[in-house]
């Protein structure tokens, strides 16, 4: 099999896995919410309700396709698709496991290892807000528009702090390639121990970037009805909801990769390369991802939501200065070590 074929197969696998994880995140969210709220959660479709995501998907496909009369038809159709595409694109640079060496051939469990992987993720993630903005604006609904505006301003504000928290990390790792960042964290050398403040800023921003509570202002149902997706129905609504879960999956993967050693685990990373190591590393990676997905859900079902001005205050007046302090601190430490 040629290397290209393997890559293509791998891309399809990653694509499928992201979709599958996102699908089951919806189920997990409902089950976890039920657990936290002392309820049962979905339990009708299949044993323990495990077929619920399929039932939801089928339902969404069969729902009436409704486009408001005064909506901008093309943009209205484009919004959800755009949001979905950008959400799916980010998984391309994430290393999901250790290299698999077979017959002298190395198969990397990463779609592509570009040397600006980190920048690529940021670029694509910030494109995602266009999907929301376009969809919200095109629906010609004030609630949608408010949601879209909130989403845009929120993403811009928090991307700054997020980027600056990464600057400190990059100063330490001196690379933007995700693979190299993971390799540097072998054993217990996880970045979270060296960059605790950076991690804190990053995770808060990750919550804001994925529009999850307590930063779910763009779609908060008690104020804006449904926010940017108020007017959307059938699978277009499904795309928005679904892409949010994909974003959550990717954010968890990025968090694991950047700060928690990715697929590295002390005992696993010292193993000889081979099938066992690869499988174990993938298990470790997904364990970390699932932990973060759970954290996202746990927070959502515990905390109230911020108000718009408080959100901006937190972003601009607290997180960005903190990120600057973090950069200065990191720089000082690096300088001290060099001397």
């Amino acid at each position: 099999m040629s290397a290209v074929m393997i890559k293509l197969i791998f891309i399809v696998v990653v694509f499928g896995v992201s979709l599958f994880v996102a699908m089951y995140s919806t189920y997990a969210e409902r089950k976890i919410a039920a657990f936290l709220q002392d309820r049962l959660g979905p339990n009708r479709a299949g044993p323990f309700g495990i077929l619920q995501p399929f039932a939801d998907g089928i339902k969404l496909f069969f729902k009436e396709e409704f486009i408001p009369l005064k909506a901008d038809r093309w943009l209205f159709l484009m919004g959800p698709g755009f949001f979905m595409i950008t959400a799916l694109m980010t998984s391309a640079v994430i290393p999901f496991g250790a290299d698999f060496i077979h017959d002298g051939k190395t198969i990397a469990l990463q779609a592509t290892d570009i040397n600006v992987g980190l920048l690529y993720i940021f670029g694509v993630v910030s494109l995602g807000v266009y999907g929301i903005l376009i969809g919200g604006w095109a629906s010609n609904n004030k609630f949608s528009l408010l949601g879209a505006i909130r989403a845009a301003s929120q993403n811009i504000s928090y991307e700054l702090a997020m980027g600056m928290s990464i600057v400190a990390l990059v100063m330490m790792t001196s690379t933007l390639s995700l693979r190299e960042i993971v390799d540097q964290q072998a054993g217990w050398h996880w970045n979270v121990f060296y960059q605790p403040l950076g991690f804190l800023i990053f995770i808060i921003c990750a919550f804001a970037e994925t529009n999850r509570a307590p930063f779910d202002l763009p779609e908060c149902e008690t104020e804006l009805v449904g926010g940017y997706h108020t007017e959307f129905s059938s699978m277009k609504l499904g795309f928005y909801l679904f892409a949010e879960y994909i974003n959550m999956f990717i954010s968890s993967a990025v968090l694991a990769t950047l700060f928690f050693g990715g697929y590295q685990f002390p005992w696993v990373s010292s193993m000889d390369p081979g099938l066992t190591k690869t499988i174990l590393s993938v298990v470790v990676m997904f364990g970390k991802i699932f932990f973060f997905i759970f954290l996202f859900m746990w927070v959502r079902w515990t905390l109230p939501r911020f108000r718009y001005d408080q959100l901006m205050n937190l972003g601009w007046k607290i997180l960005i200065p903190l990120a600057v302090v973090n950069i200065v601190l990191t720089g000082a430490v690096i300088l001290y070590k060099m001397m």
Partner: protein
Amino acid sequence: MRTNKEYIADFHNPDMPDIPYSTLNLGPTHPATHGIFQNVLKMDGERIVDAEQTVGYIHRAFEKIAERRPLYQITPLTDRLNYCSAPINNTGWHLAVEKLLGIQVPKRVDYMRVMIMELARISDHLICNSILGVDTGALTGFTYVYQYREKIYEIYEEICGARLTTNMGRIGGFERDFSPKVFELTKKFLVEFPKIWREFESLLSRNRIFMDRTIDTGPISVERALNYGFTGPNLRATGIDYDIRTADPYCSYEEFKFDIPVGTTGDTYDRFVVRNEEIWQSLSLVEQAIRKIEACEPGIYHADEDHYYLPPKKEVYRNMEALIYHFKIIMGEIEVPAGEVYRAVEGANGELGFYLVSDGGRSPYRLHFRRPCFIYYQAFPEMIRGQLLSDAIVVMSSLNVIAGELDA
């Protein structure tokens, strides 16, 4: 960011250039209005410049309907005022009628009424405060405590067979005695609920985000609140300890020991805290009421009034007098003395008054419900002016405007 005060000052400044504002219809069908009422908001981005409220979406003309009904048939109308605490409305109406008719009810009935009214107050405040949590974005607290409203409903069900619109009690007492199951369920509730409620309080009342969202949100000064005619928890949050249970005691409230919590600033957080504390007071009142009921002679559950109280079925079949009264009461042919009374009770939301004018017929000449929600809703635009859209939602939910009571 500019403060609300600066913003309002700008708005009233004639020298400011005209900014094109946008109009946002918050309601009549909006997930946050918890009922059908409309707010037309004039918005500058997220900022509310002005607001105008519309009432009457579910106006059912109860006051007019009441003019054609015999007194006992008006009780179900009162259920539908503040449907979160129907037993208080029922009892308030019965008290008004008893005042007109001059009926003395036995002590045991008073205590029974206190018991159900305080349970109703708990269920009302429980809904209000947990929905406030929902409106700030924390759904979990709501679903977690909601099952305890269910337990209160089970108690109602045991007393009268209904859950939401209870139609509980009769003029002069109750239709039947509380079964032992009622006391059993209530005692169980008194043991289980405080633990859950403490958990709920610890989830929200010291939560940084929740405090930021509610402190200084929708404040109202003492003067403005009094001018509008605020009562109940919303007035007490501004710092005035006006409570009808002590100001004009009914149902032997003067024999009970309880505190009246007051706030200081009248903002959303104060309203939340006042309601929380009232739940604790109500729990103690229910406990005291049970103790008092148990100390009374058992089996007394209504006043001895043949004219207004249905005779037992056994009597109806054997005794001509009883048959006549039964017929007359059911057909609503009992003449009421002419007169004019006002009786208010401390509803879960505030002073719920019944102004009853009778010209001696079978039904009231005029009946007016003093509905606290109607009054709070008048102050709503003033309270949210200059604040953000999110604040409007939170303020509305903390005022506990119930559509049924608002429109009557």
